[in-house]
């Protein structure tokens, strides 16, 4: 293979890359640049694409908007509520599915189903599960003498309801990744440890956890990014409103409202950029931790 790139080889490479580049460019890169520019539009005609004035007004607006901060707070609550729990649960289930239990295949399909089902379909089912009077959830709680909870109509319970559904929805994907990670671990290590007399808990803590760290790292990055971007679940679960009294309004929902419903394109772009920066910082932090803690 030739080492030095020539004009001809570069062109050839570009030709192969072109379909992907064009699609990425038009649908990803261009919107990113465009929305970055749009966040500085203060006086403009959106439809004719004429900008009369640039400035920082949009950023000033969102920083002074109490609703933006509430949305921000809700987003963090959501991320904290979903990510750790989801990782713990899926790791546990993955370990169970990796052991020699009966009907392993069926269980794997069962856990993976939520992931491949559309969010809207899932939300419709959960809306029924959460129903105050006719819901399954309250029925079970009723068996333990708990009064019916207004999951979807009480502002205090809207966020927990959303978190529970989102954890459930995300399990399948995480489990599959964990399963793949677990199966990459050589069984010889476990046999050796067993011979040395390491108990299951010790084996899990000192072998599985470190050897699974690249997988855990990957899952946590994906989960955090996805949770910051939560939108579909809210839209579908609360019927096109971010919960009672906007109690489950997250940052993407805020952007959506500003853009589509209020036609405040500049403000929406500015908020989108703040979200981008937050996700970017989190990813950097994770990469930094990853470098030090993850053993490949």
């Amino acid at each position: 293979m030739k080492q030095k790139p020539t004009l001809q080889s570069t062109l050839k490479a570009l030709l192969y890359l072109a379909p992907a580049l064009i699609i990425l460019g038009v649908f990803n890169i261009y919107p990113i640049i465009k929305s970055f520019l749009m966040s500085f539009y203060t006086d403009y005609d959106y439809f004719k694409d004429i900008v009369h004035e640039y400035g920082f007004d949009n950023f000033m607006f969102i920083f002074n908007d109490s609703e933006f901060w509430v949305a921000m707070k809700n987003t963090f609550i959501f991320v904290l509520g979903v990510v750790p729990m989801s990782i713990l649960l899926s790791l546990g289930i993955a370990i169970l599915l990796n052991s020699k239990i009966k009907f392993r295949g069926i269980f794997r399909s069962i856990y993976f189903l939520p992931f491949v089902t559309s969010v809207v379909a899932v939300s419709i089912v959960w809306r029924w599960i959460y129903h105050t009077d006719y819901g399954l959830f309250n029925y079970f709680l009723g068996l333990f003498g708990v009064d019916p909870i207004q999951w979807l109509t009480d502002p205090q319970w809207a966020m927990p309801a959303l978190i529970i559904m989102s954890i459930w929805k995300g399990l399948g994907y995480n489990i599959i990744i964990f399963l793949a990670g677990l199966q990459n671990i050589d069984q010889q290590y476990y046999l050796a440890a067993q011979m040395d007399g390491a108990r299951p808990w010790k084996r899990f803590l000192h072998m599985t956890v470190p050897m699974l760290s690249p997988t855990t790292f990957f899952v946590s990055i994906v989960a955090i990014i996805n949770s910051f971007k939560v939108f579909d679940e809210i839209f579908a679960l609360f019927n096109g409103k971010p919960g009672p009294a906007y109690s489950a309004q997250t940052i993407v929902y805020y952007i959506y409202e500003k853009f589509y419903n209020e036609w405040e394109f500049g403000i929406a772009s500015a908020a989108a950029y703040i979200l981008f920066i937050i996700i970017f910082i989190f990813t950097l932090v994770q990469l930094y931790i990853g470098k030090r803690r993850v053993t490949y």
Binding site: P155, G240, A245
Partner: protein, 443 residues
């Protein structure tokens, strides 16, 4: 490599921009030609024209619309109207916006008044006055006056027509006949009676917890109804002021809030629309849109619920908002397309079709002649619920038609919701609502 990469992209962007630029230029010239005084007069449709009509009608509503449109297409030599269902009103609004940006607007759309205001601000909607007044295919004075006044006026901005009324609804009160009879309650006609009836009707019934009054989730979004009934005003379109933080507004909010806090009224909650709980027999009275009649009638028959409808109970005065959309033509259409759309619009709301539409959908006929027709009279005699809306024409009023009306109503509704959820007191809620409204108005 980097340079090459960049040049490919530059090329791409230039191409895209060039493409956009072209179509923009062409639409501009079209606008100019139709704006000129007699531009439309020279237009003749002598070759096939196909136009798209974007709408948000689903279920039974869509079925009738399709029927009417098929009739129209059958009656025309060269014009074909293609119906495109865009989902809900929200979806339609979003798709119109995106299409406007992409220069791919359809010829016709359904639109609320405040959407039209927004379109008008952005030069997107066509002035159809030349068509309305046209000697050949326009409407005669008589025909124009046949359109119900309130609906016609809502389509006029600065003396020019930007749409025609299409599916207009009003709020009515559905009631469960059996529940009222069992409790010995008359159909409430005033607020006091409404409260008394709701109290009486609340309670256990055949193992079900029945709540007296059912309200839509959007009750706070449409709170103007209650404010006007209390003798106040929600928003003054002329002065651009939010008026609800007033004694009348307070009376209204207190009245509704107390009923909810006392447990004799509820909103639809997770059911989305009250037609569900009402037809299950979970509520005895239900204040909702007349366009919901088919959604009540069907399930009610299945569940054996005996129901009827009446006008809204009056507070200090009788008041009912008129809602529903109009049909508008986008400015980007060619003259032939505009003329074709105009022909279709006329057909859509002619006496025969508006009657047919109203009978199947629960919307109101938009013409006096339709209201007077034997067909309609016979139908409403048999199905009294469909005739309730028109009894309220005198008490009808509109939503403010201002830019950003959505943002304003939504911001206010958010605070009022907090009151109904018990997070704020009535006073706090009104204060907050006014503050939010002023923020939306940029004050």
């Amino acid at each position: 490599m980097k340079k090459l990469f960049m040049s490919v992209f530059t090329l791409l962007f230039v191409l895209i921009l060039a493409a956009c630029g072209n179509s923009e230029a062409s639409t501009n010239t079209e606008n100019e030609s139709s704006d000129s005084e007699n531009g439309s007069e020279e237009v003749v449709i002598d070759s096939p024209v196909e136009i798209e009509f974007w709408h948000a009608m689903s279920g039974d509503h869509e079925k009738v619309l399709t029927e009417i449109t098929d009739d129209f297409n059958g009656s025309q030599e060269n014009i074909t109207v293609k119906l495109v269902n865009q989902g809900s009103y929200d979806d339609l609004s979003k798709k119109n916006m995106a299409a406007a940006k992409a220069n791919t607007l359809p010829v016709m759309t359904q639109a609320y008044e405040d959407w039209i205001t927004e379109y008008l601000q952005n030069d997107l909607v066509a002035d159809i006055t030349p068509y309305v007044n046209h000697s050949e295919y326009g409407m005669s004075e008589e025909e124009l006056n046949d359109i119900v006044d309130v609906f016609r006026e809502a389509n006029i901005w600065d003396g020019k027509y930007y749409g025609l009324p299409f599916n207009k609804s009003t709020r009515i009160m559905f009631y469960n006949v059996d529940y009222l009879e069992d409790a010995g309650v008359e159909v409430p006609k005033t607020w006091e009676e409404l409260r008394a009836a709701s109290e009486k009707l609340t309670g256990e019934k055949d193992g079900k917890q029945v709540v007296g009054l059912g309200l839509e989730n959007s009750v706070t979004l449409e709170f103007n109804q209650w404010v006007h009934q209390a003798g106040g005003e929600y928003f003054n379109e002329a002065s651009g002021e939010f008026m609800m933080n007033s004694p009348e507004g307070k009376t209204a909010l207190e009245f509704v809030n107390r009923m909810i806090q006392d447990g004799i009224a509820r909103t639809a909650g997770e059911d989305g629309y009250m037609s569900g709980p009402f037809t299950r027999g979970d509520v005895a009275l239900y204040i909702g849109s007349s366009a919901g009649i088919p959604y009540v009638a069907g399930p009610a028959e299945e569940n054996g619920i005996n129901w009827s409808a009446a006008v809204l109970p009056a507070g200090e005065e009788a008041a009912t908002p008129f809602a529903g959309t109009n049909v508008s033509i986008f400015a980007s259409a060619s003259d032939e397309e505009k003329l074709a759309a105009w022909e279709y619009m006329k057909f859509l709301i002619n006496t025969e079709n508006t009657t047919k539409w109203a009978m199947a959908s629960g919307y109101l006929p938009v013409r006096y002649s339709a209201l007077e027709s034997e067909e309609w009279k016979a139908y409403t005699a048999e199905n009294p619920a469909y005739g309730v809306g028109e009894q309220q024409f005198d008490a009808g009023f509109y939503d403010p038609r201002i830019v950003g009306a959505y943002g304003l109503k939504n911001a206010v509704a958010k605070e009022l919701d907090r009151v109904l959820l018990g997070e704020l007191t009535v006073e706090e809620g009104l204060e907050a609502a006014e503050a939010m409204a002023n923020k939306e108005l940029g004050k």
